[in-house]
């Protein structure tokens, strides 16, 4: 990325909340097998139906605002944003226009070694529309649309930043940090890529702003922005102006595409939502909700660096999941700090990634980890077998002790090793002679022989030392 081009990026992120019910009705907020099975008169927009605001959504909005250091409104109102689209139950969206839940906060990001605050303009609550399926293939040659209202009314938080990002990397870092915080707050389903969707506003060199919509998850953002910036630079190179427009991110091809020009920017004609009441957020409520917020990622990061003296990269990996960080802290009361950290972020994480599950999702219990750490600390298992063991308990969850017994994974006993070494030395006099003559390779050969005899259970390091000792004594 060339540093000389002045880039300004702002992000508008929508997060689907993981509450049990929708924003304005008590329909279950969950995935369904069949369309239109989690619906009621309210989310179907039936004439005569009325909305009922979900308490949990309000609480989560306040908590998130606290975590992002936003100023929280004392009196919260809702608005109607009126526009016509086949995915709208009421042809108006219940949202917050004039008065969002929170305003003027920030989130600190780190890109390489630089820390930087990103200003957050606002956070507000709104509802998701229905899901559309275009019958006939793609949007452009469909004959009609199929509408599924299961998603209609799903609660969303919209988080809007100021255009503080100077590069796609910064934007990605922000989204990842934001996602971590949201995961810590436990308010959204971090597994689904569709739980977070962003729209980006980009302008280069003080030019027109282009909006890129529909960027899902936290990873696509960098590519989307890189493409768009390149596209804009190309236009300028050719002496053409960048037009203010709305584009859509095509994740499959990793490009941005022009969305159909709207004839005129339609006026949403916002009014205050008269079917919902004003919500008063008292100091007491704010305090109670704040107390429910767990230690946040950046706080934990600093504390772990301080308390456990680990490498920043290791800490980063350790605290990505709240549960792993929590279990770590309990484990290090018994076990060695660095060993535990390197095991959890190393072998354990590798195995989890391979199986595409998170630590939280896996059935691995911390007592099991403790058992393995004991073995490692007491030098009773080789590193290789420890890795094997970890893989086994991740894929077929059971207490590692069982696996150790079943597969005979422990290191050979010292006496046993001594015996094997004796035998190998006896059996391979030429190698011994080679070693004595200064050929270091010979010892690797002898170690290998012992490993073979012990069926991999001997510890290579100890074996080597034992061989050297025995040869020297001879």
């Amino acid at each position: 990325m060339e540093e000389d081009i002045q880039v300004k990026i702002g992000l508008e992120t929508h997060v689907q909340l993981d509450t049990r019910t929708k924003l304005l009705c008590a329909c279950p907020n969950e995935k369904a097998d069949k369309p239109n099975t989690k619906v009621c008169p309210t989310c179907l927009g039936h004439p005569g139906s009325k909305p009922q605001l979900n308490q949990k959504v309000l609480e989560q909005a306040v908590k998130t605002s606290e975590a992002l250091q936003l100023d929280i409104e004392e009196e919260v109102y809702f608005s109607r944003k009126t526009y016509f689209y086949p995915d709208m139950s009421k042809n108006y969206q219940t949202t917050q226009y004039e008065v969002p839940v929170g305003r003027d906060g920030q989130l600190e990001i780190q890109v390489e070694d630089e820390k930087k605050p990103i200003r957050i303009q606002r956070l507000h609550i709104e509802e998701d529309p229905a899901k559309l399926k275009h019958k006939g293939g793609s949007i452009s040659n469909a004959k009609y649309t199929l509408v599924d209202y299961n998603r209609a009314g799903t609660p969303l938080l919209e988080i809007v930043t100021k255009p503080d990002f100077k590069s796609p990397k910064e934007a990605r870092s922000y989204l990842q940090e934001l996602a971590k915080i949201l995961e810590y707050l436990g308010i959204y389903d971090s597994d689904s890529d569709f739980s977070i969707k962003s729209d980006a506003n980009i302008s280069i060199e003080g030019g027109e702003r282009v909006e890129v919509k529909n960027i899902t998850g936290t990873k696509g953002i960098e590519q989307a922005l890189k493409y768009e910036i390149t596209r804009q630079k190309q236009l300028k190179k050719r002496g053409r102006e960048v037009e203010q427009e709305t584009r859509s991110y095509n994740a499959d091809q990793e490009i941005t595409e022009k969305l159909r020009d709207k004839e005129t920017e339609e006026d949403y004609g916002y009014i205050f939502e008269p079917d919902l009441t004003t919500q008063n957020i008292t100091e007491k409520q704010k305090k109670e909700l704040k107390e429910e917020i767990p230690e946040l990622p950046h706080e934990k990061f600093e504390r772990f660096l301080d308390e456990y003296n680990l490498e920043p990269k290791i800490v980063e990996a350790l605290i990505t999941e709240r549960k792993m960080a929590k279990d770590y802290e309990e484990l290090v009361q018994k076990h060695e700090k660095e060993l535990t950290a390197s095991f959890m972020t190393g072998d354990l994480r590798k195995v989890l990634n391979y199986n595409e599950i998170s630590y939280e999702e896996s059935s691995i219990q911390k007592q099991w980890i403790s058992y393995i750490l004991d073995l490692l600390e007491q030098d009773k298992i080789s590193d290789r077998n420890a890795e094997l063991l970890t893989r086994e308990i991740a894929e077929n969850p059971k207490h590692p002790e069982k696996v150790v017994k079943e597969q005979d994974l422990l290191k050979a006993e010292e006496d046993e090793v001594k015996q094997f070494v004796e035998q190998v030395i006896d059996d391979n006099p030429e190698a011994v002679e080679d070693y004595r003559e200064g050929k270091d390779d010979a010892i690797n050969f002898l170690v290998g022989q012992v490993m073979q005899k012990s069926q991999g259970k001997a510890d290579p390091k100890n074996t080597r030392e034992e061989i050297v000792e025995q040869i020297t004594e001879q």
Binding site: C27, N36, L53, K56
Partner: protein, 93 residues
């Protein structure tokens, strides 16, 4: 003074088709009705807060507890535009 073109734009925003003649008539309606609304300007509301409800409504929310949803027959009883449990709607270009 509202122009016919503006009336047409408002109609479009509201998804209502108007013929040229209708727009002309509506222009007159708009004119006299908006004129009626203008007298509100005589009232000094400098230090007045707007009331979006006539009473002090109580702050109300609902518990995050799921309730029964509609059965299929109920979902589709008011339409014949249904396909495989979906509602059939007009296409999006």
């Amino acid at each position: 003074m509202i122009e016919k073109e503006e009336v047409k734009k408002v109609a479009e925003n509201a998804r209502i088709n108007v013929t040229d003649e209708e727009a002309e008539n509506l222009k007159e309606d708009f004119k006299s009705i908006l004129q009626m609304f203008e007298t509100l300007e005589d009232i000094d509301t400098e230090d007045t807060e707007p009331s979006f409800h006539p009473i002090d409504v109580e702050s109300k929310t609902r518990e995050d507890k799921p309730k029964e949803t509609l059965k299929k027959e109920e979902v589709f009883q008011n339409t014949s535009n249904e396909e495989e449990n979906n509602f059939k709607g007009p296409k999006v270009k």
